[in-house]
Symmetry: C2
Subunit: 321 residues, 2 copies
DNA sequence: CTCATTATGCTCTCCGTGAGTATTACGCGA
DNA sequence: TCGCGTAATACTCACGGAGAGCATAATGAG
């Protein structure tokens, strides 16, 4: 049975690296592809909104979705992806304004090491938290946006049509952001973004008008939703799979390891406990070599200990707070 | 840019319920749809292999993938789905033997209550562990298959072309199944199935020949892979989201709650600790009512306590062993 | 009335986690 | 060369959750 309405499949990638203490994501300025849409091309006052790199699936050529993804990332950005994980398939009808085809986007999370962050052609590495500023709870950088968000969300609760919906919104707001005594879950990045979207507090939610106060740098189409999905998944996975090491060079100091974990978790971790945890879990082995010139006592260089995969069911790193 | 090669999108569902102490999945005998493939129709000696229910996405009609799924499940099986969660998108080229189109399948996990298990039209509720017998570690039911699997996998390790690949296979086998001192992770259902597939120990891996000893009831196409994905995800989610209650009626005894958790985890849990954990986490509240006629002291009926969503970041149930 | 069966209460021991204090080893500038 | 800033590393301590066991209460069946 031939469909009258064709389906086009896009492969999107949130390609993440950590440089210094900031998590970065690879973005492109222009949507050059067949998948480019009016929305993806949308401009703010000045520049077009950045987009996650994406390319179309070649239904006849690409043997697997993942190999299709790796292929065009290699060709376009000259980047060889290491760790790749499928995130989610986005298929809402109104998410792309193409009248002539249904667009499905399969979003992936990819991790690359800091060393690969340099020449990426026209692509740019941007701070993940410039798109999701409320997610970085390290230096109180999220406090100002969170105060403002709270005020706006209070209003969102207040304008609910009836009491039942009001209390439902209240619950949702509190649980998402951990307000009024609720426990804040750092992994619920997507839920928070979607709440802001529904409350009209991100620019993507009202593409025509410019909102009075929108939070975070917008992205093309629903790419910021994908980025939120990626960050949430990454934070969760950090805890039970040794994915941090995909972002680190072969040898590293414990401080560096902690910095990368903190950058992704968006929170400061207790130093001594972090080290004890990492050591006790057998995640790393010392190399005997030391790093110098950091302005303090030289740190030992460590290396990921693969044998931990045998010993632990869930070898992760972000448990220590 | 119009693709020369059309893409067809299928929506698959692993619809899971727990009756008594067995987890069940809804299966259909025949692939009646446009998506039906030679492989899906494949027969063993007698009947065709059961399949997960699936239906095509209507690219022009269905506003979202999930609503498309709910729609055809309602129409075909007369079943109104409650909890639905996207699992994974399968898109390998060779997974469906259609020469005229590329088939993408978006697989979903859906949970329904025991009460809904009855009239499902031509569909049948089958024991999940009949497809994945090595995953049920409750009454030693998995012991016999696991012994046999172990012997076959030892051979798989031995026939590796060189020493490096041999030790890589050895590592993988040990980690997957928790052998030779490795820690067995109950959530890695998919990894175990895929290992068996690669080792040629499931019928789907060699559709022509009939294997000397294949493990578990096969399913059409790659549906058993989807089921493994579903079970793994469900086991993981049990631990940090209150999904068990999607499978239970409004009120239930603690024994019933534990049985459902055990059925999905495929393991026995310590009774007193389970109850203490559930109580301490504030997951349930007593109703004051009691159940009788069970042949012992009557148990109190409990109800899910929604307020736990505020209080706990990760309210789950399967921590107690 | 007794026994099998199930629910439920209580205890006790580890160990992981959160948090703090103290000590060691560098580079650098006065 | 001495002192100070910076960072790494070593210990200690309290607390709560998880694992395991024993004891007791409330039913129905015979």
């Amino acid at each position: 049975m031939q469909r009258p309405f064709p389906v086009v499949v896009g492969l999107n990638a949130a390609i993440v690296a950590v440089t210094g203490e900031t998590p970065r994501v690879l973005t492109v300025e222009r949507a050059e592809h067949a998948l480019a849409t009016a929305r993806a091309m949308r401009r703010g006052p000045g520049r077009p909104w950045p987009a996650l790199p994406f390319g179309p699936l070649d239904p006849a050529g690409d043997p697997t979705l993942e190999r299709g993804l790796r292929g065009w990332v290699r060709r376009q950005a000259g980047l060889e992806l290491g760790y790749v994980e499928q995130l989610y398939t986005f298929g809402d009808r109104d998410r792309e304004s193409r009248g002539d085809a249904r667009v499905l986007s399969v979003a992936y999370l990819a991790l690359v090491r800091e060393s690969a962050v340099s020449g990426a052609g026209e692509a740019q590495w941007r701070d993940v938290y410039s798109f999701l500023p409320w997610e970085d709870g390290r230096e109180g950088g999220a406090e100002a946006p969170l105060r403002a968000i709270r005020a706006r969300l209070e209003a969102f609760v207040a304008v609910a049509p009836d009491a039942a919906q009001r209390s439902a919104r209240r619950e949702r707001v509190d649980i998402c952001f951990g307000w009024r005594g609720a426990a804040r879950d750092p992994d619920r990045v997507l839920e928070r973004y979607e709440l802001l979207y529904e409350a009209g507090l991100v620019a993507e939610a009202h593409p025509g008008r410019s909102g009075p106060e929108d939070f975070g740098q917008p992205m093309a189409a629903d790419h910021r939703r994908m980025l939120a999905t990626a960050l949430g998944r990454l934070r969760g996975k950090l805890r039970y799979r040794p994915v941090v090491f995909e972002l680190l060079p072969d040898t590293f100091t414990l401080l560096r390891l902690q910095q990368v974990a903190e950058a992704l978790a968006g929170a400061r971790l207790h130093k001594q406990n972090f080290r004890r945890l990492v050591a006790a879990a057998g995640l790393v082995v010392g190399t005997g070599q030391r790093e110098s010139g950091t302005g303090g006592r030289p740190a030992e260089l460590f290396r990921f200990r693969r044998a931990v995969l045998r010993e632990r069911r869930a070898p992760g790193v972000a448990a220590a707070r």
